[in-house]
């Protein structure tokens, strides 16, 4: 839709404002990041030395290799777990599917590092399982630290992406395709490999990419459980912390390398998926059938076993939050003392989380609606660029974003470092894509003639937007906003770089409490966060009227 009305209308100015915001808060910071990666800390002169150092010293480049190897393994495992579960639950009767779906979504959306920290409590050096095996049976269990721990925790946390994507794709396969294959003499197993698998491959790839990006970007898990196995986000963080004093040129170079790598992967995947995607919509979706007894049991054991494993961290956290503690130790008996402690000492972190989160969400909703509108209804060069740029934070790691923002806003003309504003900024930039996408999706379903009808009746374009378009967009916007909200309150990797004593959030506090081995308070905070997440999810399902989640 292109309106002949004067080009200087409301949308012209909106485009300008949003473009300005983007230049200031995204383009300029990224530019500063790349710029400072070429600056010598002492002399301020141009230098390649940071990049040279990275590729010369084994300690540095090994972090990149570590990142790649663990991320690749996580991705493969997540696909191998997520896709079969999706197929089994779609093609066959599995009991308690609704419950399974809910548990899987909860395990995916809860704070990223809860997994690492719970598994340390369970299987770490003095963990429950470890001590049980050592003291009762005299068996030394394999170590949870390093590569295998990261692999375990990230796989259990990220396979839900593949599961949700593939479940969605399976729903869009019409049963007649499968019946056609059978009528041509194809047996059920061959059918899976010759029909179903090729049809869902693009979706599997898309899900795998999401897993890959998330695993590559994750900071909390490898930080807590990785120990000697250093990966890029951890390296960036530790270099950044040790470099401080306003200068972070080496960390900037590391961050720049990450930006380039993630962008390349993202573009590569886009290219592959665009080349082999199908559009399908099922008139008659697949109907689950009954598996024979033995297979049925095996399927249930497999699925319930995995879902249980992935929900273990939440159970551990909630359970231990009610345990008595002495120092960093849990002692027998239950109490609410952990909760008393956090409300006493860390109350600010709780209020910060909700206040910053709400402010960020309000901004996200406004921006999301406007940008979605501009990029679907007023497509031109500027709005397309803005649209592409908003997806950028979706793929770059949070710690990289944190450093990017800090380097840009710790000096005049705009000093935001240490303020609440910079945390809110990081939230908005990182989590805007969820709201943006679902707003755009619903806009595609609203016919432009609805707006034209309003304008033709004499309502100016701006009022038409608020009176008609915005009202009709609301369900989609709110669904996206809740996802943004859940991911905002659980955000760690950017805020851990940006926080100061007075602006710490719950995620940051959980992280610092875990580092201080104050497990009781960490568990209590995590429980509050998990509860908030679950309630928000329930609102989400109520609002969208379905148990579906698009990420």
């Amino acid at each position: 839709m292109k309106l002949a009305a004067s080009p200087r209308d409301f949308w012209f100015w909106t485009t300008l404002c949003i473009a300005a915001l983007f230049i200031v808060f995204l383009v300029y910071p990224l530019f500063s990041l790349f710029a400072s990666s070429f600056v010598d800390a002492e002399s301020g002169a141009f230098t390649w030395s940071h990049y040279a150092a990275f590729f010369r010293k084994k300690y540095y480049y090994r972090a990149l290799l570590n990142s790649m190897s663990v991320t690749a393994c996580v991705t493969v495992l997540a696909v191998l777990i997520g896709a079969p579960i999706a197929y089994l639950t779609s093609a066959f009767h599995i009991r308690g599917k609704k419950l399974l779906d809910t548990l899987i979504i909860i395990s995916m959306l809860s704070p990223p590092f809860i997994g690492a920290y719970s598994w340390i409590l369970l299987a770490g050096r003095s963990g429950l399982i470890t001590t049980f095996f050592a003291e009762q049976l005299g068996i030394r269990t394999p170590t949870i630290y390093g590569f295998s721990g990261i692999l375990l925790v990230l796989t259990l946390k990220l396979y839900p992406f593949v599961y949700l994507y593939v479940s969605g794709a399976l729903k869009s396969i019409d049963i007649s395709l499968s019946e056609a294959a059978e009528s041509l003499g194809c047996d059920p197993l061959r059918k899976v490999f010759t029909i179903i698998l090729p049809l869902i491959t693009p979706t599997v790839l898309a899900g795998a990419l999401l897993v890959f990006m998330n695993a590559l970007a994750d900071f909390g898990t490898p930080m807590l459980i990785g120990e000697g196995f250093v990966v890029m986000p951890v390296l960036i963080y530790s270099e950044f912390v040790s470099e401080m004093g306003g200068q972070a040129n080496f960390a900037a170079a590391l961050a720049a390398i990450m930006v380039v790598i993630t962008c390349l992967i993202f573009l590569g995947q886009k290219y592959v998926v665009n080349k082999k995607s199908f559009t399908m919509s099922a008139l008659r979706p697949m109907k689950p059938s009954q598996l024979p007894a033995v297979q049925n049991t095996l399927a249930h054991v497999f699925i319930y076993g995995l879902v249980f494993l992935s929900i273990v961290p939440q159970i551990t956290v909630v359970y231990t939050s009610f345990m008595k503690t002495r120092g960093s130790m849990f002692v027998p008996g239950f109490s609410l003392e952990s909760y008393a402690t956090i409300f006493d000492k860390l109350g600010a972190a709780i209020t910060n989380t909700y206040v910053f989160g709400l402010v960020a969400i309000l901004i996200i909703i406004v921006l999301g609606m406007f940008i979605a509108y501009l990029s679907t209804r007023r497509r031109n060069l500027i709005t397309s660029i803005i649209d592409t740029f908003t997806m950028f934070p979706y793929i770059i790691p949070g710690s990289v974003l944190g450093i990017t923002l800090l380097l840009a806003f710790n000096k005049p003309p705009m000093v935001l470092s240490g303020t609440a504003a910079i945390i809110v900024l990081a939230f908005v930039v990182r989590r805007l894509p969820y709201t943006l996408r679902s707003s755009a999706a619903i806009l595609y379903q609203i016919s432009p003639s609805i707006e034209e009808a309003s304008i033709s009746l004499g309502c100016p374009p701006m009022r038409t937007f608020f009176k008609v378009t915005a009202v009709m967009m609301l369900p989609g916007v709110m669904a996206g906003a809740i996802l943004s909200w859940i991911t905002v309150i659980n955000e760690l990797s950017a805020s851990v770089i940006l926080y100061t004593g007075s602006t710490r959030t719950m995620s940051v506090s959980i992280y610092t409490e875990v580092i201080r081995a104050s497990y009781g308070t960490a568990a209590a905070l995590s429980s509050i966060l998990t509860l908030t997440t679950v309630i928000s999810l329930m609102i989400f399902f109520k609002l969208t009227g379905s148990k579906e989640l698009s990420l």
Partner: protein, 367 residues
């Protein structure tokens, strides 16, 4: 306040592609004016230029004497009815109809009265407090119409408003639209590609092809005296014969010719011509005069029998294998079977003669 519309030499381009090269037309105050043409010919494009939703690359559009090119859509005071109704789904029927009044200086009491009257006019007063999703297609279309008219627009613009309705409702609604338009007396531009709809609803029709207007005339004129073979075949069906004209004498075959004195232009050049004859305008000759034709197929349609006829001489029908002939059952003496040979005569008053390039040679037809 209804207005006349003057479109003067307008040009529409999408990027490098010119959709409307140079188009002019004048629509009178209170007229029901229809844009008719095949899909993709630019009807919607032109309508949206009048509405203000498309830019105008060159030329002028005027409402009465006022040039409206630079006036944004919401200030043009138009009423628009969309193909997909575009009824606001979050507002009740009454609120939908009221919607446009809040942007105009209308006192509340008057607004309410106008809405009530309008709901009655389009016969949806019983559904005033329903949400649109609980209305049928025809009812939604009435809401859209009421909403557009209640603001007393300068012009009413409708883009295929009936194409989403079923056949029966379409006929009912087109009568309703016509009645309401005449009662309110509002200048209306109506877009359709349904020729029957255009013929029965319009005061005048503009037939368009590839962004160019072919003919603007009253429906009867368009049907009986098309300006070219495109219009002759697009509006209704025309059988096109290869004929030759010498003076005022039109020859179909060596032994059949008709006298067109006073019917073709006096300056019409002699030579090869194309002659269009509508299927229902042949006369059966019991005396065995006229053109001999063999029945290939006959289709019984109730009031008519449709025949497919072939001629021995292939040169008579250069572009068609067979012609179509409709026999009115009311006056028919017998129904023919495939293989039968019949003789047809044409009524000189009803046929149209075109140049080989397809331009009409009939007198009184504007070239």
């Amino acid at each position: 306040m209804s207005v006349s519309i003057h479109v003067q030499n307008v040009v529409k381009k999408y990027g490098q592609v010119t959709i409307i090269p140079d188009l002019s037309l004048d629509i009178e105050n209170g007229e029901f004016f229809t844009l008719l043409g095949p899909s993709g010919c630019g009807k919607t494009t032109l309508l949206r230029m009048i509405a203000g939703f498309n830019s105008i690359e060159a030329g002028l559009i005027k409402f009465d004497e006022e040039v409206i090119n630079a006036i944004p859509a919401h200030k043009r005071n138009i009423g628009m009815v969309f193909q997909n109704y575009a009824v606001f789904p979050h507002l009740t029927v009454r609120r939908n109809v009221e919607y446009g009044l809040q942007f105009r200086d209308v006192a509340n009491s008057e607004a309410a009265a106008r809405v009530d009257a309008m709901l009655k006019t389009v016969r949806i007063e019983d559904y005033a407090d329903r949400l649109p999703e609980r209305l049928s297609g025809g009812q939604q279309q009435r809401v859209a119409l009421a909403r557009a008219i209640v603001v007393h627009p300068n012009v009413l613009l409708m883009d295929e408003p009936l194409s989403n309705l079923d056949a029966k409702l379409r006929v009912e609604m087109r009568a309703a639209i016509r009645d309401i338009q005449k009662t309110v007396g509002i200048t209306t531009v109506y877009v359709t590609h349904d020729q029957e709809e255009a013929l029965c609803i319009s005061d005048r029709i503009a037939v368009m092809r590839e962004g160019v207007i072919q003919q603007i005339d009253a429906p009867q004129v368009i049907y009986s005296r098309p300006v070219n073979t495109f219009v002759a075949s697009f509006i209704g069906h025309s059988n096109l014969f290869a004929t030759s004209l010498s003076g005022q004498q039109l020859r179909f075959s060596p032994d059949y010719a008709v006298d067109l004195r006073g019917l073709v232009r006096s300056d019409a050049p002699s030579g090869k011509t194309v002659t269009g004859v509508r299927p229902e305008e042949f006369a059966l000759s019991s005396a065995g005069l006229g053109l001999a034709a063999r029945v290939v197929k006959s289709t019984f349609l109730g009031r008519y029998v449709n025949y497919e006829l072939a001629f021995g001489d292939a040169s008579l029908l250069p572009d068609q294998a067979a012609i179509e002939f409709s026999q009115d059952i009311g006056t028919a003496k017998m129904i023919y079977q495939p293989g039968d040979v019949i003789h047809l005569e044409v009524n000189p008053e009803k046929i149209n003669v075109f140049t080989e390039a397809g331009e009409s040679l009939m007198s009184g037809v504007r070239p």
